[in-house]
């Protein structure tokens, strides 16, 4: 049966398709590692980045000039407007290519959608949002696949390219480097706060706008300076992704929580207890590998584990380049508010030291 639109109805609200309190759609990181470790490790001389370092994408060298970056990401609606959902999901999927220092080339739409539940115009609007971001990235959508399923999910599979010698992985952070974060933390807080009625409209609006922003401009600066390591911050939160990057690089990170940029409203939403379940799962994943000093505020500790959607890049930058990298990112993308949040230390008994 087809969805029959009510002529009196308001524009379709995608958030009505997902369960209230649905927290986060990502599987717990610990569970995932448990399953993945039972699979044989694939070795191939041309495979430059495989699953072993938990990087953002796989990278395969075609020849001495070109390597392919291959990645995918998709998720259920995190906002009401279909065009915006398409934009956010596409920006999030494209980000993995940027996090490797690459340039997106081709993309496929991945869509799960039931026309029995949702008007078909919404389908078109989601795709329109996705196309807009792929176009901004300078890549081409060359097809896709749709499955009848409800609630809807949308994302992309993306192929990008990079010169094999200029690839930036999450395994290259060096002691002495500065850590630069290019977007504010708190998208999980604002999305959850909007559902619980604790997010002010302008604050929620700002979170949506941040999620729609491509990491392209910050990544171009990172490539220019050939930063030593990079990753993007998504579902495992700042702490989870920093942890994976530090472990892959065999170093430890010191992060000054007071310098972590926060979206307006995020702190007060968490302070009132509106903390999504994903945050607790991420906290458990960090466990004893992350150390927090007594004076770190509990709310900031939770925000360090807030699951991000289409979050920023975390870069490990040679200290001599740090101020230029910061200045150029903030010039290329004035909305970004990139900041220095800490430094890379020699590998210590624990991986992350927050203070």
């Amino acid at each position: 049966m087809l969805y029959t639109p009510d002529p009196m109805s308001e524009p379709f609200d995608l958030l009505t398709t997902i369960e209230y309190g649905g927290c986060s759609s990502k599987l717990p990181a610990g569970l995932l590692s448990e399953v993945l470790k039972e699979f044989p490790v694939i070795t191939d001389p041309n495979l430059l980045v495989d699953v072993s370092t938990h990087d953002d994408a796989g990278v395969y060298k075609l020849n001495d000039e070109t390597a392919l970056i291959f990645t995918t990401d998709f998720f259920p609606p995190i906002c009401s407007d279909p065009v915006e959902f398409g934009e956010i999901s596409a920006a999030n999927a494209l980000s993995d290519v940027y996090a490797m220092g690459g340039t997106p080339l081709l993309a496929l739409n991945l869509m799960m959608f039931s026309n029995a539940e949702i008007p078909m115009e919404v389908f078109g609007e989601i795709l329109r949002g996705g196309s807009r971001k792929v176009e901004e990235a300078g890549a081409l959508i060359i097809g896709g696949h749709t499955i009848d399923d409800h609630p809807p999910k949308y994302g992309l599979a993306v192929i990008g390219t990079v010169h094999p010698g200029r690839l930036i992985t999450n395994a290259g952070a060096k002691p002495g480097d500065r850590l630069i974060l290019t977007k504010s933390i708190g998208t999980g807080a604002l999305v959850s706060g909007q559902k619980t009625g604790l997010a002010a409209d302008p604050d929620y609006r700002r979170a949506l706008d941040q999620m729609k922003r491509l990491n392209r401009y910050a990544a171009e600066v990172a490539v220019k300076y050939q930063v030593s390591g990079m990753t993007d911050i998504t579902g495992f939160g700042l702490a989870g992704h920093a942890l994976k990057m530090a472990e892959a690089s065999r170093v430890s990170f010191r992060i000054v929580t007071g310098t972590i940029p926060l979206l307006p409203g995020a702190f007060s939403i968490f302070e009132k207890g509106s903390i999504p379940g994903a945050t607790f799962r991420n906290l458990e994943f960090s466990g004893a590998r992350a150390h927090f000093t007594r004076n770190v505020n509990h709310t900031l500790k939770m925000l360090a584990h807030d699951a991000q959607t289409s979050g920023g890049l975390l870069m490990s930058v040679n200290p001599d380049h740090a101020s230029s990298v910061l200045a150029e990112i903030n010039e290329a993308d004035p909305e970004s508010g990139a900041v220095d949040i800490g430094e890379v230390l020699s590998e210590s008994p624990r991986t992350l030291y927050f203070e």
């Binding site: 927290c23 207890g273 903390i275 500790k301």
Partner: protein, 202 residues
């Protein structure tokens, strides 16, 4: 006794309800929380334990009952305007700085015993240091399987930052033997010493 019934609510509602109720709970008063969601129970416990409170939990059928007191360091008290009206900022934080393996001068064997006892006694202090910094021969106290490593690990569990001089670890060839602490550099160590309220040298 106050009761917060979160049955039928899923995350994050139960924690929002608990925090609202805690704002109206007096120190020493107890609060009872009902939840029928296992994940919510775990999240409530994580929150309360992080605030230094250990709630009592009983389960009957699908309903968990959690009895808790009010956390001492409550956000209500922290944001009390009166706290900011006194004589201005006074930094009474302190840092313990350990310059060598031994405590005091004289018999080295006694010096070693004294240092072990000192680190053990440190965790029992009512006012704890923010950092314990170890440099030069002091870094040897953080090597695995030593009693001092154990004491330092206990201090770390209490949220104290144990900070080691990286160059010193390299100098003594202890790269693979360190069991506790953040391997740091002179910039961070200098910064920490300079911003401490006062520094204790045992």
């Amino acid at each position: 006794m106050k009761i917060v019934d979160t049955k039928g609510f899923t995350c994050p509602q139960p924690l929002i309800m608990l925090k609202e109720a805690l704002l109206e709970t007096e120190t020493g008063e107890e609060l009872t929380v009902y939840t029928d969601n296992d994940t919510s129970l775990q999240n409530l416990l994580t929150y309360l334990r992080d605030q230094g409170v250990e709630p009592r939990v009983t389960t009957s059928g699908k309903v968990h009952t959690l009895v808790t007191g009010r956390p001492a360091a409550s956000t209500v008290e922290a944001s009390d305007p009166v706290a900011y009206c006194s004589t201005g900022p006074v930094n009474d934080d302190f840092v313990v700085c350990i310059k060598g393996e031994l405590m005091g001068e004289g018999d080295p064997e006694l010096g070693r015993t004294l240092m072990e006892t000192f680190l053990d006694a440190l965790k029992l202090q009512e006012k704890l240091p923010t950092h314990v910094i170890l440099y030069n021969g002091g870094v040897k106290l953080a090597t695995k399987t030593t009693p001092t490593c154990q004491s330092l690990a206990e201090l770390e569990e209490l949220g104290i930052r144990v900070m080691l001089c990286g160059a010193c670890i390299d100098h003594y060839g202890l790269q693979y033997g360190i069991g506790v602490g953040m391997i740091s550099n002179m910039i961070v160590i200098t910064e920490t010493l300079a911003s401490a309220g006062h520094v204790v040298y045992p």
